[in-house]
């Protein structure tokens, strides 16, 4: 126990030093991030507050005041659905976080060589895993709880109950996720590559089918059936065997002052949390150390012939580029591809995009029959594709310059100008991201059957966004590099990475928002003539181009200047 306490004390000290280190960061950067984080929280709070308020009043059936309104019934189901979604997200997030925290971290090697019992080491790493995978969910969950409490006049202890429920609620998916990772780490080193690919393909197909079935909106063929179908579709979230249901029920009971059911559900959650954690601990005693040691020893020397496979042929395919640029690009692609954690996240991300696009087909059946939804869905689609792009650039492009840091002696001594290096990253980002996002845009627009003008504008916007979001990510990556860190996920989670993501979101909101407003105004007949509308389209397009140019060139220029000043 003393050893564990020493470890937690050290982590506490590190946390304090990390927070104190914020003072050394650029004031502007800290302020922008703080303002955006606050705005994000307030935005979510506002959305939930308005949403719950609307649902509370929504009562088309005209039930009496003593009965729950339809809106309230839907709210209960929506909360259960949210908890269920969070539960699955946490489980998946823990699978990924556990891979880094329990297996890949160099800290584990240090701790393994110290006289810690394996159970102590596991508990310490598990706690870290829970923290890293769950803090954001808790941060984003707080406006939901607060807004619900305010709308439904919940008693003061509702908020305490919510805080109390959060710990056992995050422990269950964490224990499940960590256990899955331990099993995978034990099994995977012994599997051959074709079998691995088949398993991954089966998992992605299963996920795809499950999500299609769960979010099937084709059945919503008429508005009469909509409410019944929504309630029906959410029935699965009400299973009494789901931890998300216990958490939701406990919380909802406390909001109306029913302390008995609250305590029952809390104890149910706690007992199951402890049980699942105990099982994870047991699994750790059997599988953690052998799996960790096996993963460290699984790197076998393999010769990589020059002209075989995709990686071997990139050099030839890019033969039209200058040798220096080609070398840099080929290096970036090879390093990315050979880092399992990088491409596995990319592959999962790509799977989710496929699910999104496949579901649009169903959305096309219903929403596009109604004019007002037609624009909204088209621009929501543009927004969603832009967010996919922002996630891609923030996660994979922003760290590229930082990752050069420790190896800068190679590029720094070579006859390569920094300008070339920075623009090479930019073009690499542009070329790879546009392949995915323009493809998604075209396919999704076809599925949504949008009009030609909207198709042209949305595709043009996506091309502009590839420019600007690549410029933002590469530029801010050069402006706020982290040359000490080798782990791209950690580079992204720093202040610079957060700032990049938030600025990307702000840019998307502006670029998509102005166009959406214009088309919505036309649908509502607020624009008197087609000529006026055409002029306004031209004006808005010019504005978006201007903002995009600024978002591309300002960060690129600032980043380049910063790199030129940096001493390596």
């Amino acid at each position: 126990m003393r050893r564990l306490l020493a470890l937690f004390r050290a982590k506490w000290c590190m946390g304090i030093h990390e927070i104190a280190g914020v003072r050394k960061q650029s004031k502007l950067k800290v302020c922008v991030v703080a303002v955006f984080v606050l705005a994000l929280w307030l935005g979510i709070f506002f959305l939930f507050y308005k949403g719950f308020g609307f649902m509370k009043r929504f009562n088309p059936g005209g039930f009496g005041p003593e009965m729950q309104t339809i809106g309230e019934t839907v709210t209960v189901r929506i909360i259960s659905l949210l908890f269920l979604a969070v539960f699955f997200m946490l489980t998946f997030s823990n699978v990924l976080v556990a891979l880094t925290t329990l297996y890949r971290s160099s800290e584990v090697e240090f701790l393994m060589s110290s006289p810690l019992y394996l159970s102590e080491l596991f508990i310490a790493r598990f706690a870290e895993c829970v923290f890293f995978s769950s803090w954001a969910i808790l941060f984003l969950g707080s406006p939901l709880v607060l807004s619900y409490g305010l709308v439904y006049n919940a008693p003061w202890y509702f908020y305490l109950v919510a805080a109390g429920f959060s710990l056992p609620f995050v422990i269950i998916p964490a224990a499940l996720g960590v256990t899955i990772t331990m099993v995978l780490a034990r099994v995977f080193p012994h599997l051959n590559r074709p079998l691995l690919i088949m398993l991954a393909a089966a998992a992605v197909t299963g996920l795809f089918l499950y999500m299609r079935r769960s979010f099937d909106v084709e059945s919503l063929s008429s508005s009469d059936q909509m409410l019944g179908a929504v309630l029906d579709a959410m029935k699965n979230t009400q299973s009494a065997f789901l931890p998300s249901f216990w958490a939701a029920q406990g919380l909802l009971s406390s909001s109306v002052g029913e302390l008995g059911p609250t305590m029952f559900h809390f104890l149910l959650l706690l007992a199951n949390g402890l049980l699942v954690f105990r099982l994870a601990l047991y699994m750790a005693s059997k599988a953690y150390y052998p799996g960790w040691a096996a993963l460290r020893g699984s790197g076998q020397a393999r010769s990589r012939p020059r002209d075989r496979g995709i990686l071997g042929r990139i050099d030839c395919w890019l033969g039209f580029l200058q040798p220096r640029t080609r070398s840099l690009i080929v290096k970036d692609i090879r390093v990315f591809w050979r880092d399992v954690s990088q491409w596995s996240q990319f592959a999962f991300f790509f799977g989710l995009m496929a699910v999104y696009v496949a579901n649009l087909r169903a959305a096309g059946y219903y929403y596009l029959e109604i004019a007002i939804w037609k624009n909204a869905v088209s621009f929501l689609n543009l927004g969603a594709t832009s967010l996919i792009l922002a996630t891609l650039t923030s996660r994979f492009i922003f760290p590229l310059i930082s990752l050069e840091g420790k190896r800068f002696w190679v590029i720094g001594l070579a006859p390569v100008r920094l300008r070339e290096l920075v623009w090479q990253k930019f073009w690499l980002s542009f070329a790879t991201c546009i392949t995915f996002t323009l493809g998604i845009m075209v396919i999704s627009n076809v599925m949504l059957k949008v009009e030609p003008l909207l198709m042209f504008l949305s595709c043009g916007t996506i091309v502009m966004m590839n420019f600007s979001l690549s410029g933002l990510a590469v530029g801010l990556g050069a402006l706020y590099p982290n040359f000490r860190e080798d782990n791209p996920a950690k580079i992204v989670s720093g202040l610079g990475g957060t700032l990049n993501f938030l600025l990307s979101i702000a840019y998307i909101m502006v670029a998509v928002g102005v166009q959406a407003l214009l088309f919505q105004a036309r649908t509502l007949n607020l624009i008197p003539s087609d000529r006026r509308f055409a002029c306004m389209v031209a004006g808005v397009t010019a504005f978006v181009v201007l903002v995009s140019m600024m978002a591309t060139f300002i960060p690129m220029s600032l980043g380049l200047k910063n790199l030129e000043r940096t001493e390596f």
Binding site: R2, R3, L5, A6, L7, R9, A10, C13, M14, H17, E18, G21, S106, E107, E109, F110, M112, S113, S114, P115, L116, Y117, L118, Y289, P290, A293, A294, R296, G297, S298, G299, Q300, A301, R484
Partner: protein, 242 residues
Amino acid sequence: MIRTEDLTKGFGSVLAVDKLNMEVQSGEFFSFLGPNGAGKTTTIKLLTGLLIPTAGRAFVNGVDVQLDPVSAKRALGYIPDQPFLYEKLTGREFLRFVGGLYEMDTREVELKAEELMEMFGVLGAADLLIEEYSHGMKQKLSFSAAFLHDPQVVIVDEPWVGLDPKSIRFIKGYLREKVRDGICVFMSTHTLSIAEELSDRVGIINGGHLIAVGTVKEIMALEATRTFEDVFLELTAEGNEG
């Protein structure tokens, strides 16, 4: 103090360490030599429990590393070639943390940490974050951490990188002094002159096989060449893999 019995480690079809049998006594300075990829680091990782042997056993202070890892590690001080240090801790906080891991008395940790940091020349930077340390300072701090709990066995993997001549001289003297006090030092290095100067015995590994063990004089007697470097190169020449 350190003993291996048919210690074997394979990675796929490659045997990195093959039936290694050796013994290092307390109060002995043992240098472990070999060309790159010979199996030195794998052996060290097997001795410290960072790898699981494919076959055979490793003992530290009489304890099987796999059967009772905690007892074995309590007796062990390990200085890896690339030491892991918590960059967001100060040097002093790091040593307090290490003291906690070894369940040392708080007051004892404070005194010992102060003494070691002064000895290794990092006391002036004790309250700076480790991220501000140079490579050499980090190395000295990891020496301080390894000796904090008075280990019976010290395993050092290529410790000289990044150290200035004064520090190298100090550490050489310190290690010898500890050996005189009865500690067993097991050092892996490529610096033959230091191995020759400090070691009571040396072991040469090549292709996973221990191809020579003995005092420097005994090993030099194996080949009719002039220097220890010549002998090493003769023994580890391609084809001489046991």
